[in-house]
Structures are given as structure tokens and as C-alpha cells.
């Protein structure tokens, strides 16, 4: 199944989530905080966008989840990348780099 063409914003969010989960497993808030951290606080993902995205990506087979224990000793749902997710991260990153390069070039042109 080809990767669905996502609009820019959703694509950005997906890419950020994939990136955030690339090195380690995180629960929902962990993903949100990690994104804030790796974007220097530029993106603050609200729960209202975060959870639908996580569930959608899980159903698409990019993420897998398991129940673990949070820092507050509470049962929490953790997410990690699947093989398909890693591949998606790779293709999405390349695409994004192409786009951002093109955008940067376009904006520099006077």
C-alpha cells in the first residue's frame, strides 16, 4: 500500500512524531515533550492533535504500542516505531529535506 499523501501540517506532525520515537519508546506526553525539546519549543503538540495522530499512525502500522509504567508509577501506553515506521521516517525525512531546500531556495530568490 503506498503511503497516503498527507497535507503539509499533518505530514509535519507525523514526521515529528516518527522522529521523536526514533531513538526510544515514549508515552503520549513523552512524545509531546520530546517534540517540544527537539524543536526548541517551536512546536507544542496539544493532546487534541497528538492522540488522534498516534492512533492513526498505529493503525497504519507505523507505530506499535504496549502498556508500561510511567514516571508516576501509573499504567501508561508507550509507543515505538515499527519497521514500516522506520521506513516511513526515512522517506518522509528525505521528502521534507527536498521540500525545505526548495522552499529555502525559492524564498532566497528575489
Amino acid at each position: 500500500m503506498p503511503a497516503p499523501q498527507s497535507d503539509l501540517l499533518q505530514g509535519t506532525l507525523d514526521l515529528l512524531i516518527l522522529k521523536a520515537l526514533a531513538p526510544l519508546e515514549l508515552h503520549g506526553m513523552g512524545v509531546s515533550r520530546r517534540i517540544a525539546q527537539i524543536t526548541d519549543g517551536t512546536f507544542e503538540v496539544k493532546a487534541g492533535s497528538l492522540f488522534p495522530a498516534l492512533h492513526r499512525m498505529e493503525q497504519a502500522g507505523w507505530l506499535k504500542s504496549f502498556w508500561g509504567e510511567s514516571e508516576t508509577n501509573r499504567r501508561a501506553k508507550f509507543y515505538s516505531l515499527t519497521k514500516a515506521g522506520k521506513k516511513q521516517l526515512h522517506t518522509e525525512s528525505e521528502r521534507w529535506e527536498r521540500i525545505s531546500l526548495a522552499m529555502a531556495t525559492a524564498l532566497r530568490t528575489t
Binding site: 506526553m29 496539544k46 492522540f51 488522534p52 493503525q59 497504519a60 514516571e71
Partner: protein, 906 residues
């Protein structure tokens, strides 16, 4: 892909678990956020409140997450269905009315379609039935004919041997044979078949073998028989050792060589063959009548079938056969048999005859039932349409009542599409429930219809079943989907257009005025459709009355009739003659019998013996005006109650070589105009030899019906059966002193005593026989009357509903009028004006529709015009009265509006 499927599986079947997990996940999230805030130094309660606020409404998130789940549409559908079922259950009265209406509509359609499917549409149960064609010759045959689809045996041989169009060709001849048991005999339908019959049809044997080339090469050569599967089961108890045994057919020992495959009862629906015999055994199966061995070309009796070669269309086959037929006709037209029975002008016409190929599954019953069944299906279709209009109106009213519900749903964020879908799902649910009930109704209705329609003894064996097959089910599901769309879509779209603010405010009665005009239109449609159905019902009922009142031209009250054919039990002509002499005497001496008459032709059974005649002043007769003939015994006219107007009746002394005839008035008028018919002479044209007019007219009888009730009495001539020596069988008429029905058992007993080896066939009263001959008309008349009544009822309910709604909506206005001094009668008049406007528009549309469609039913009517003004006006008056009184109730209610209450209500 797999993860998607697993997700779908989970979403559908583990919804609860998923929702619980989601809740827990979000709870954990809130807790983590608040914990973070506490660490930043905020009090725990405040932190928790903050976290919740930041999460932005847990419910909203849950909703959003659900939306992205795979298979959400299925989820929603399940929701819609659940909600729909709840809504339906919440309004039991409405739902019952809706389901009952639909069940009647869909049930009637299914019953009719099921009959149409089996009688008219279904093909023969043979290999590639669509390749099979009946080969017939158009135009007049000039000679003796067994029916419009028959050709002569030599013609069949020529076509079979020289055609280029067929991969196989066979012919058949249906007849009755007597099967003898040790102590009695039974007459059964048989099919005489040419050698290629089974092979060309692709019908095999379940036991033994079918008839092949060797069985059918020499006349009288092979006395063999193949049994039909159902006959083998019922009469031989599925005897596994039947092959090789002999059975007695017409007194001939015939060896059973096989049993045909199940469900195959010959090629003619409605007269299932029980035994199949090689056509070379014709002389044994139809004693004393040939056509096979004497190779007469002027006797057409076999029905020829061909299987089209692969890739050849019917048109191509027809074109390729035409030159062949023409060369055969050119040869025939020169033969003395032809020139004896036809004039030179006839010969020119004869050469213009064409080959015509009919679908191989066609037959008489199909031909006869096609129009009535399509007509009835159209009527039921109109009833269903009307039911849909009615339901649409009900749903519109309900949609108005549910505006607040829709407004609330819209306000909390449901899309309009969602509401349309919800309402459509509800319609579909109603429709499905109606369909299930309707199917049950259709099953019952078909059983009743079959019993009415078929003669009692045939019903048990007839190949029509009331159980619906795949095609019928497809029809039903289609009908269900279409109806739910028709009656559900408009109200659904309208419902989704609800104005949130208006509906949620305490509104005044100005809402949905556009809805009223739509409702009015729907009622108009209902009125016009029911006028159409009422007019149809009126026309068909009056047709039946006309036919019933026609009468055959003689008193039928105390007449019993049956037929025997002694030659089928091995009797010679001389034995047959003495059989009838003795039979007549035996029956006359039975107590309760007034008189007994015999005739070689049964009356009013659709059969006719026609022959061209010649006389001193006329030679031959155009084929359409050939007189119908019969041979009767001296007591025949007296038994049937037909007086002799001039001359005398036959007596016992009128035996050969006397050559007398009694004719009817039309015969006398046509052939002996202006002369005394008594003493005139004529002769029957015979294609085998030249004829001189020797038959002397000795009496004249009044005109009476011969073939059926619909005909104008044709010219008729009767000969004394005592004068002829070649009688094969006769129809017996017994005039009883008491109720003829009560007499049947005694008569059967007497006949068994008299001769157990000659079976009694078609024993019934003449009134029953006449009733049966009108069964199609009765079926159409009674069903159309039922549908007309149903339609009127629906229309009346519909009109009542709309007017009640209108009055309710205008309560305030009416209150003001009354407060300002309008009289109650003025209010009634105001409402009734609207009622009659509605009815009038509907009637006008219905009139136009009925006038336009009248031509379609012309052929089904008798004795009245398809635009019969009496029926049209009568139907309109009935409908106007019924609908008018339904409208009067809301009018009356409007007039009793109390102005103070009405004004305070707002």
C-alpha cells in the same frame, strides 16, 4: 495491509476494550501533565484543573481518535442502525403502519413477480435453453392444422435435413395416452418425440437411457418409452428395476428404457409430459390418425425445434432458412392436395409464408398469461408507488416532529450528511422489515393464486412452486432498496435542512410551509394513482361481469360433462361405436338423469374442428370464415337445451348412407342467403380427393357459442354421429334432474362399472368448465379490485393526514378568523375548498394518466371501451366521496377551534 485488517477487526469487535484503553491512556496523560505542574510548584488541585483544560476536553479527543480509526464508516453504520432500531421501537404505531404498508406493497409485487418469473420469464431446464428455437411457418397452412406452431411431418424432415442454421433439430407431438393397469386405466399426457429430442435438448437419463436414433428409425419399429422423473416417482415408487419392464400404453406393450432427469417434464410448461415415446410409434399412440406414414403435407401437426449453431443469431438463422422454406412451398403449391383445398389466389398468398423462429421456451400458457401477468405486476407496482408516497408523507410529518432532535444533533456537531444517512438507514430498516413480512405474504398469496388458477388435479403436479428462487429474491431486494430510497430520501434531505436556531427557539407555527406543498403534491400523486387503479379495477370487473352474463347460448345449470376415448384403450371403430350405444343407454337409465347427449367436439373448451366447404353456388371458403363442425348423437341438442328452429333433429334412423346436417342460423344466412336452408346441400373440402356436395341440411338451430364465451357464434354445422364410422372418442353431456355436482360420484361409479378400462377424463359441471375458462379474467378482476381498494384506502389515509396537519398548523389563523366573527360553516368551507382542490388536481392527473394508458389494456377487456366513461366517472365519484369524507374530519375539527385557547397556545 495486515495491520489495517487487524485494526479493522479490533475496531469492529473490540470497541469497548479500545475505548477503555483510550480512556486510560488519556487519564494517564492528564496525570502526567499535572504531576509536571506540581513539580513546578502548583497546588495539586489547580494542576489537575489546568491539565484538564490544556487537554482541551477529553470527550473531544475521544471523538477525534475514534474518527481516525479504520472502518469508522462501519462503526457509524452500526450506530445508525442501533439508533434507527431504537427510533422505530419508540414509535410502535407509526412503525407498524409503515411496515404493514410496505409488506402489502412488496408482498403483492413479489407474489406477482414470482408468478411472472415462473410462467413467463423462466427458460426450459435444458442445456443452453437460449439457443433453442421453435421453427414455425407464418401465414395460412391451407389444410388441417393442430395449431399455429405446427408444421407437417414431411416439412419437418426437409427442414431437418437441409438446414444450415441448426446444430440439431427435433420435433414433438403432445397427446394423451391411456396407461392400463390390471383393473383400471388412466389417461396421461405423453410426448411423442423424434430421435434427436433428448440429445438436442441435452437432457439425460437418471436410469437406463433416453430415446436415440435406433429407437426412431422405422415406423412401429420400437415399442419403447422413457418415463418422466416425477411420473416414475409417483406411479412406480421410484422402482430401481423399472428399466426393461413393460407397461401398457393404449393397449400396446411398451418397454421402459429409461427415466429422464429430474425437473424435466417436456418442453411445454403447464402440460407436463409423463412419458416420452418415439414419434415413429405415432400409429400406436394416436390410433386411427396418421400423418407420419401417409406423409400428408396438408396436415400440420408436429412442433419443430432447432438448436442454433454457436455464434448464429436468430435473425441470421431465419434468413438462412427462408430460401429453404420457399423452395418447399413452391413444390407444395403445385401438389393436387393443395390445389384441391385452395384457390389460385390462395396459392399466391401461400408462397409469401415466412419462417419464424420463436424462443424455445415459449408455449401456450406463456402466451396466454404474458399480458395479464405483466398487467398485474404493473398494478402492484402502482400500489407500491402509492405506498411509498404515503410513507414519504408520514416520514415528512415525522421529520417535522423531529426537527428539535435534528437541531440538537446539528448543534452538537453532527454533519448534515450524517443526519441524511441516519434517516435513510431508518427507511431501509422499515423497508427491510416490510420485505420480510411481505415475502411471507407473497408465499401465501402465490399458493392461494395457484389454487384458484389451476384445475384442482393439475395444481398438485404443476411445475410452478410458490417458493422464491434467486431471481425473485434479487427482485425483492431491489424493490426494497428502491422503495426505501423513494420514500426516504426526500424526507431525509428535508430533515437535514433543519434551521438550528429556529427549531431550538420556542417557535411559532410558521415553520416548514414549504413542506406542506410537497405533502400536497404527494397526496395528489396518491389520488391520481388510486384513480388509475380504480378505473382498472372497474374495467376488469365489468369485463368479467360481461363475460359471465354472456352465457353460451344454452342453459348450463344442470349439465355434467366428461370425455372418453375408447380407441386409446385398444378399441376398434366398431367396438367404439357399440361402446357409445351401450353407454348412452346405461346412463339414460340411471336414476336422476334427464337426458344424455354425445358429441365428438367438446364445446367451450377452445377446440374447433374447422373445414372449408363447397356447394352449388360457392366453392371453398376463405380460411377465416370456415365453419366449425361437430358430430353429435340424436339426443345432443335436447340434452343441451338447444331447440330446433326449422326442420327436424337427428333421429336414430339417420345412419349411413344417409348424409344429413343441421346448421345454425349464421351458417344458413351466410351460405344460403335468402333461401330456405332446409334441403340445401354442401360438402366438406378434402385435400385427398375431389368432393361433390352431397350433405343435405335437415334442420336449423339458433346460434350458440362453440369455442369460448368471447366469440361471436361462428357458422356451425352438425352431422349425425350415427352416420360416421370413424369415431375415436366423444364428449358426453348429462343433464341431471338435481344438482349436477352431487351427481359426480355416482356417475364415476357407474362409469367404472360400465367399463374400467376406458378412463373418464375432465369430469365437471359445464358451469365449472365455463368458470374455469374465465379464470384469467377472474384473476385479473379480483386482484385489480383488491389493489384498487387498497390504493383508495392508502390515498384516503394520506389525504386525511395532510389535511389534519394543515389544520393543526393553521390553528392560530383559524382561531383569529373565528374571533373576528367567521362562522363555523365558513371555516369548514375554507378547509373543504382545499380538500377538493387537492382531490380535483389528483383526479385530473389520474384521468389524463388513465386515458393515456387505456390502450395498453384494451386486449384484456370485453364488451366495453377501454375509455368507458361510466367506469371513469364512477371511479372518480367513489374516490372523491371517500377522500372528501376523510378531509371533512379535519375540517370539522377546524370549525370547533376555540379562539381563546388557540391564541393562548402560541
Amino acid at each position: 495491509m495486515i495491520s489495517r485488517l487487524r485494526a479493522l477487526w479490533n475496531n469492529v469487535f473490540r470497541r469497548k476494550q479500545l475505548d477503555r484503553d483510550l480512556n486510560e491512556e488519556l487519564e494517564a496523560y492528564v496525570e502526567l501533565v499535572s504531576a509536571e505542574k506540581v513539580r513546578a510548584g502548583i497546588s495539586p488541585e489547580e494542576a489537575r484543573r489546568d491539565a484538564r483544560r490544556q487537554a482541551g476536553g477529553i470527550d473531544q479527543i475521544v471523538q477525534n481518535v475514534r474518527e481516525v480509526r479504520t472502518g469508522i464508516w462501519l462503526d457509524r453504520l452500526v450506530q445508525d442502525v442501533r439508533y434507527g432500531v431504537r427510533t422505530i421501537a419508540k414509535n410502535p404505531a407509526f412503525s407498524l403502519v409503515a411496515i404493514a404498508t410496505l409488506a402489502l406493497g412488496i408482498g403483492a409485487n413479489t407474489a406477482m413477480f414470482s408468478l411472472l418469473d415462473q410462467v413467463v420469464l423462466r427458460l426450459l431446464p435444458v442445456r443452453h435453453p437460449e439457443q433453442l428455437v421453435i421453427v414455425r411457418e407464418t401465414g395460412n397452412h391451407y389444410g388441417n392444422s393442430y395449431g399455429p406452431n405446427t408444421i407437417s411431418w414431411p416439412m419437418f424432415e426437409d427442414l431437418r435435413d437441409y438446414n444450415q442454421a441448426f446444430s440439431g433439430m427435433f420435433c414433438r407431438f403432445p397427446t394423451s395416452v391411456t396407461i392400463g393397469y390390471s383393473d383400471h386405466a388412466v389417461q396421461i399426457p405423453a410426448e411423442l418425440v423424434s430421435s434427436a429430442y433428448f440429445q438436442t435438448l441435452g437432457v439425460s437419463a437418471v436410469l437406463g437411457r433416453t430415446i436415440g436414433q435406433d429407437d426412431d428409425s422405422v415406423p412401429d419399429g420400437k415399442p419403447v418409452v422413457v418415463l418422466s422423473y416425477s411420473f416414475w416417482r409417483s406411479y412406480f415408487n421410484s422402482d430401481q428395476n423399472i428399466v426393461g419392464r413393460t407397461i401398457s400404453l393404449n393397449g400396446n406393450a411398451m418397454t421402459v428404457i429409461g427415466v429422464a432427469q429430474p425437473n424435466f417434464d417436456g418442453v411445454e410448461l403447464g402440460s407436463p409430459a409423463k412419458v416420452f415415446v418415439p414419434i415413429m410409434m405415432k400409429t400406436e399412440m394416436t390410433p386411427h390418425s396418421d400423418g407420419l406414414k401417409d406423409r400428408r403435407r396438408r396436415l400440420s401437426w408436429v412442433t419443430a425445434y432447432g438448436r442454433l449453431k454457436t455464434g448464429i443469431t436468430t435473425e441470421q438463422a431465419q434468413l438462412s432458412l427462408q430460401p429453404l422454406l420457399h423452395s418447399i412451398l413452391e413444390m407444395e403449391v403445385l401438389q393436387p392436395e393443395f390445389t384441391r383445398s385452395a384457390t389460385a389466389a390462395d396459392g399466391q398468398l401461400f408462397l409469401r409464408n415466412q419462417v419464424e423462429l420463436l424462443p424455445g421456451s415459449d408455449n401456450g400458457l406463456r402466451e396466454q398469461m404474458r399480458r395479464p401477468l405483466w398487467l398485474l405486476l404493473a398494478l402492484t407496482g402502482a400500489v407500491l408507488l402509492l405506498a411509498c408516497a404515503n410513507l414519504a408523507n408520514l416520514l415528512l410529518a415525522r421529520a417535522a416532529a423531529r426537527e428539535r432532535e435534528f437541531a440538537v444533533r446539528l448543534a452538537i456537531g453532527a454533519g448534515r450528511v450524517r443526519i441524511v444517512r441516519q434517516l435513510l438507514v431508518e427507511s431501509l430498516l422499515l423497508s427491510a422489515a416490510g420485505t420480510v413480512v411481505g415475502l411471507a405474504l407473497a408465499f401465501l398469496a402465490d399458493r392461494v393464486l395457484l389454487r384458484i388458477y389451476l384445475p384442482a388435479n393439475a395444481a398438485a403436479e404443476f411445475a410452478i412452486s410458490p417458493i422464491p428462487d434467486g431471481r425473485v429474491l434479487a427482485f425483492v431486494v431491489g424493490a426494497m432498496l428502491v422503495t426505501s430510497m423513494v420514500f426516504g430520501l426526500v424526507p431525509a434531505v428535508r430533515g437535514s435542512r433543519t434551521e438550528i436556531t429556529l427549531s431550538l427557539k420556542d417557535r411559532s407555527g410558521t415553520l416548514s410551509t414549504s413542506g406542506i406543498s410537497l405533502k400536497r403534491m404527494l397526496v395528489g400523486v396518491q389520488v391520481s394513482l388510486s384513480l388509475l387503479l380504480l378505473v382498472g379495477a372497474g374495467l376488469f370487473v365489468r369485463t368479467l361481469r360481461n363475460l359471465e352474463n354472456l352465457g353460451p347460448g344454452f342453459p348450463t345449470g344442470h349439465l355434467l360433462t366428461f370425455t372418453t376415448t375408447p380407441t386409446l384403450s385398444g378399441y376398434s371403430y366398431a367396438e367404439t361405436k357399440s361402446y357409445y350405444d351401450r353407454l348412452s343407454l346405461a346412463l339414460k337409465t340411471m336414476p336422476g338423469v334427464a337426458s344424455v347427449g354425445l358429441s365428438t367436439m367438446p364445446v367451450l373448451r377452445g377446440f374447433a374442428w374447422q373445414n372449408a366447404i363447397l356447394g352449388k353456388d360457392f366453392e371453398g371458403t376463405p380460411i377465416e370464415q370456415q365453419p366449425v363442425l361437430s358430430q353429435v348423437d340424436p339426443d345432443y341438442f335436447e340434452t343441451l337445451g338447444i331447440p330446433v328452429l326449422a326442420g327436424r333433429a337427428f333421429t336414430a334412423r339417420d345412419v349411413a348412407p344417409a348424409d344429413y346436417a343441421i346448421v345454425n342460423e349464421t351458417f344458413a344466412r351466410e351460405y344460403f342467403p335468402g333461401r330456405n336452408p332446409i334441403g340445401q346441400r354442401f360438402g366438406l373440402v378434402d385435400d385427398m380427393r375431389p368432393v361433390t356436395p352431397n350433405t343435405e341440411v335437415i334442420g336449423v338451430i339458433p346460434d350458440k357459442k362453440y369455442r369460448d364465451l368471447r366469440e361471436t357464434p361462428p357458422p356451425q354445422a352438425y352431422f349425425s354421429s350415427l352416420e360416421v364410422s370413424n369415431i375415436r372418442g366423444m364428449t358426453v353431456y348429462v343433464r341431471t334432474q338435481g344438482d349436477p355436482h352431487q351427481f359426480e360420484d355416482a356417475l364415476l361409479n357407474r362409469m367404472r362399472q360400465f367399463d374400467p378400462h376406458v378412463p373418464v377424463v375432465d369430469l365437471q359441471t359445464v358451469n365449472e368448465q365455463i368458470g374455469f375458462s374465465l379464470r384469467t379474467e377472474r384473476l385479473v378482476a379480483s386482484l385489480s379490485a383488491v389493489f384498487g381498494g387498497l390504493a383508495t384506502l392508502l390515498a384516503v389515509i394520506g389525504l386525511y393526514g395532510v389535511m389534519a396537519y394543515v389544520v393543526q398548523r393553521r390553528t392560530r389563523e383559524i382561531g383569529i378568523r373565528i374571533a373576528l366573527g367567521a362562522a363555523r360553516s365558513n371555516v369548514i368551507a375554507m378547509v373543504m375548498r382545499e380538500v377538493f382542490l387537492l382531490i380535483g388536481t389528483g383526479l385530473a392527473a389520474g384521468f389524463l394518466l388513465a386515458l393515456a394508458l387505456a390502450d395498453l389494456i384494451r386486449s384484456q377487456l370485453y364488451g366495453l371501451n377501454a375509455r368507458d366513461p361510466f367506469t371513469f366517472i364512477g371511479a372518480a365519484i367513489v374516490l372523491a366521496l371517500a377522500a372528501g369524507s376523510a378531509g371533512f374530519i379535519p375540517a370539522l375539527r377546524a370549525s370547533t377551534v376555540d379562539p381563546t385557547t388557540a391564541l393562548r397556545e402560541e
